[in-house]
């Protein structure tokens, strides 16, 4: 059993090869982005210390000869001194570094979506059969007018006099969350772009600029402006359907990001508009935003640059006083507020932030919706909820708690083969998702995974229609912010209160 040099840290997984089944085709050697496998003259050898359980090798082994198992050499169980804590102490004592990883937190916090139940019709109010009757999922994101002025033409037909603020039209209330070219591969972005176009929804560039190949997908793209202002210029701002100002991210509230220089090759350099090989540093704050007034200034700088034709979204992480913060953002002129819960994913973030900062999206959403309604400004902006939406059930519950739409990031990557190994930061992703190594990126076929993303979102949309039908409503609009259709189980009074829902049975 190989262990890495003189580290205390043992291999987490064992890559076991059944040499009776193995035909030495060496596909595992090709497929593993981590260099776990090598050929030892007459058989495949495995360096277990390199295995991250990303699942690529056994998925593509034609003989089913590989099993990845947890290393049975255990640390003595201790509920206080958990394995991860001990290993991090070793890692940090060996390197002196801040521990970082990809994806969302792996900590076991309470998942409120799993403690919320939906209502359904029985006897007194009829349910609707979505297979036979129309069921509207179309969603418009953007500022809605407080009142509508209507005129009538000579035949008495009403004509809308009010000029509607710009909207993003979604055929189903999903968007792909912001993931930059750099954090993920161009092929992964292309898969989302193809799916977004086919579905009539949008993807988001993240803070990585817009690659030339994605320019034709402008009608299905939100472009992002963040603190590093990478790839941001006048034409970029005008190339999508909306502009998003990123303040924070659920996985790493309050901190910025570094795309390491070794990932800045020629193509990423061109897209981000920075030199090859330099770190792409996004500072923690925007250095021109220190207040709600400053945020308003940037929102309107973007609106001026886009001639008031694009809705402007502001993305924030869900943190303690999120309701007051979002109220300020709406008053600053945002047309959309994107709220990212603490379990949201990332390409890389310090574990101390990922595992310990922020609040659950469910609670944030309920409080924000409540606050904006109380203040009479809920119509001023749409809300996108994010932070590990894992199923259509999570999506429906988020909408009933007050979201207009939900964003999916990790789920979209799982479609592309991601096994949530959390090593995105290393750039060795065997699935070609969070890597820039050409031999790995090449294997992710945008057409194939674009279609699978289309399938997933279509399936989830059908599931939402089923649930709406069961609740006796024929439009997603009718469920939005309708907390009366939700009940809690195994929740305390304080939790129910924060969610604004009743306990089951009441």
């Amino acid at each position: 059993m190989t262990k890495s040099s003189f580290s205390n840290i043992q291999s987490e997984y064992l890559a076991l090869i059944d040499h009776n089944k193995c035909v030495r085709c060496k596909r595992c050697i090709q497929n593993c982005g981590w260099g776990t496998y090598s050929f030892g003259g007459d058989k495949i050898l495995a360096d277990h210390s390199k295995c991250v359980a990303c699942g690529r090798c056994y998925t593509y082994c034609p003989e089913g000869a590989i099993s990845i198992v947890k290393n049975p050499t255990v640390l003595r169980e201790n509920a206080n001194w958990k394995e991860g804590l001990i290993k991090n102490i070793w890692r940090q004592s060996e390197t002196g570094g801040i521990v970082i990883s990809g994806m969302g937190t792996t900590f076991k916090y309470k998942k409120y979506f799993d403690h919320i139940l939906l209502d359904a019709c029985q006897v007194t109010n009829p349910s609707i059969d979505p297979l036979r009757e129309p069921m509207e999922l179309r969603t418009y994101l953007g500022k809605k007018p407080s009142k509508l002025d209507i005129d009538f033409d000579e035949t008495g037909e009403p004509i809308l006099k009010s000029k509607m603020p710009p909207q993003i039209e979604l055929q189903t209330p999903f968007v792909f969350g912001a993931m930059s070219y750099g954090s993920i591969s161009l092929n992964a972005q292309k898969a989302m772009a193809l799916a977004a176009r086919a579905l009539g929804i949008v993807m988001n560039t993240g803070e990585g600029g817009l690659h030339d190949d994605l320019v034709p997908f402008g009608k299905n793209i939100i472009v992002q402006v963040a603190s590093g202002r990478f790839g941001v210029h006048r034409d970029y701002l005008n190339s999508g359907v909306a502009v998003e100002i990123k303040i924070g991210q659920g996985a790493k509230p309050g901190i910025g990001g570094h795309l390491p220089g070794e990932k800045i090759g020629a193509d990423i350099s061109r897209t981000r508009m920075i030199p090859v090989g330099t770190d792409a540093i996004s500072p923690a704050p925007h250095h021109d935003i220190y207040s709600i007034e400053d945020l308003r200034q940037l929102i309107y700088a973007v609106k001026e640059a886009t001639d008031y034709e694009k809705p402007v979204s502001v993305k924030v992480a869900a943190v303690h006083n999120i309701a007051a913060i979002v109220s300020g953002i709406v008053r600053a002129g945002a047309d959309i507020v994107y709220i990212d819960g603490y379990t949201g994913g990332t390409g890389a973030a310090p574990n101390i932030i990922k595992d310990h900062v922020g609040i659950p999206i469910e609670l944030a959403l309920a409080q924000v919706d409540e606050r904006l309604r109380e203040e009479g400004i809920r119509n001023e902006a749409s809300i996108i909820a994010a932070g590990s939406i894992r199923s259509s059930a999570d999506a429906v519950k988020a909408i009933a708690l007050g979201a207009d739409a939900v964003a999916i990031g990790t789920a979209a990557l799982v479609v592309m083969g991601c096994h949530v190994c959390g090593k995105c930061n290393t750039g060795n992703c065997s699935w070609g998702i969070t890597t820039q190594r050409p031999e790995l990126v090449r294997r992710l076929d945008p057409e194939v995974y674009g279609e699978r993303l289309y399938n997933l979102i279509s399936a989830w949309s059908h599931e939402i229609q089923e649930v709406l039908g069961a609740m006796g409503v024929n439009s997603i609009e009718s469920l939005r912010g309708s907390k009366e259709r939700l009940r809690g189980v195994e929740l305390t009074d304080a939790e129910l209160n924060a969610l604004g829902i009743k306990h089951a049975g009441l």
Binding site: G97, S227, R229, D235, L237, T278, P283, D288, A305, N425
Partner: protein, 245 residues
């Protein structure tokens, strides 16, 4: 050519008039009685467009601008040249805070002083080389996270002090030229100080002449003193900060 009297005009109206004017083919604009209007020149395009501003323009002058020239005949406020891509901004007075944030190309020449956070995250890309030249002095957080381009600090008003703290912290690209030697022990560990050599001065010359010509001042006084240059110690200041879980 068009003259717009901006007195009492909302910025939205003023900027709409400018955008429509450019679309109609007008290339020279004279703005009179400007009094704090935001976003003048925001997101406009056209290398031959010149906007002459009388009065005090408000924040975000020339934000996202891509080619035109703005001439401010007085002081200006904050966020000049925010994320600017190309063009030129001449300021005949002082500038406020956050000059050239994320600026990728073009030139900002300031005759007087500038406030805090000048040149933060300024970046160069290929042939695009953003340049800021400041006649006077600057406030703290100067060139923080600077990733590319050139900033020249002339200190013409002869104050011996750079009050600035957190000078060039996190700088990982580009070059700063100073016309005064500074007590470097006070400043960032991310950068190194050298005396500017002949190559540097030859490189700088055309920009300094452009600067002095723009403001009709003598270039001799400026080049009479030696220049110093500050460059980052590394293009990757945080490369060793992390360890993978």
């Amino acid at each position: 050519m068009i003259t717009i009297d901006a007195a009492g005009m909302h910025y939205k109206e003023l900027n709409r008039l400018i955008r429509e004017g450019i679309e109609k083919g007008i290339r020279k604009f004279f703005l009179e009685n400007v009094n704090g209007q935001y976003y003048i020149g925001d997101g406009i395009k056209g290398d031959d467009v010149v906007i002459n501003i009388n009065g005090i323009p408000g924040n975000d002058l020339g934000a996202f601008m891509d080619g035109p020239t703005l001439i401010a005949n007085n002081n200006v406020q904050d966020n000049v040249g925010n994320t600017m891509n190309a063009g030129k901004i001449l300021i005949k007075g002082d500038a406020g805070d956050v000059v050239g944030y994320g600026m990728r190309g073009g030139k900002i020449y300031i005759l007087g002083n500038a406030g805090y956070r000048v040149g933060i995250h300024m970046k160069g890309y290929n042939e695009q080389l953003p340049i800021i030249i400041i006649g006077g002095k600057v406030g703290s957080f100067f060139a923080e996270y600077m990733a590319g381009g050139i900033i020249v600090l002339l200190g013409l008003n002869d104050s011996d002090e750079f009050d600035s703290e957190y000078f060039a912290s996190g700088m990982h690209g580009g070059t700063i030229y100073l016309r005064k030697k500074i007590d470097f022990s006070k400043y960032s560990k991310d950068v190194e100080l050298y005396e500017a050599d002949e190559n540097d001065m030859n490189f700088l010359k055309k920009y300094l002449i452009d600067y002095t010509d723009s403001f009709n001042i003598s270039s001799e006084e400026i080049t009479a003193k030696p220049f110093y240059k500050i460059v980052p110690s590394s293009a990757r200041p945080y490369a060793h900060l992390y360890t993978s879980a």
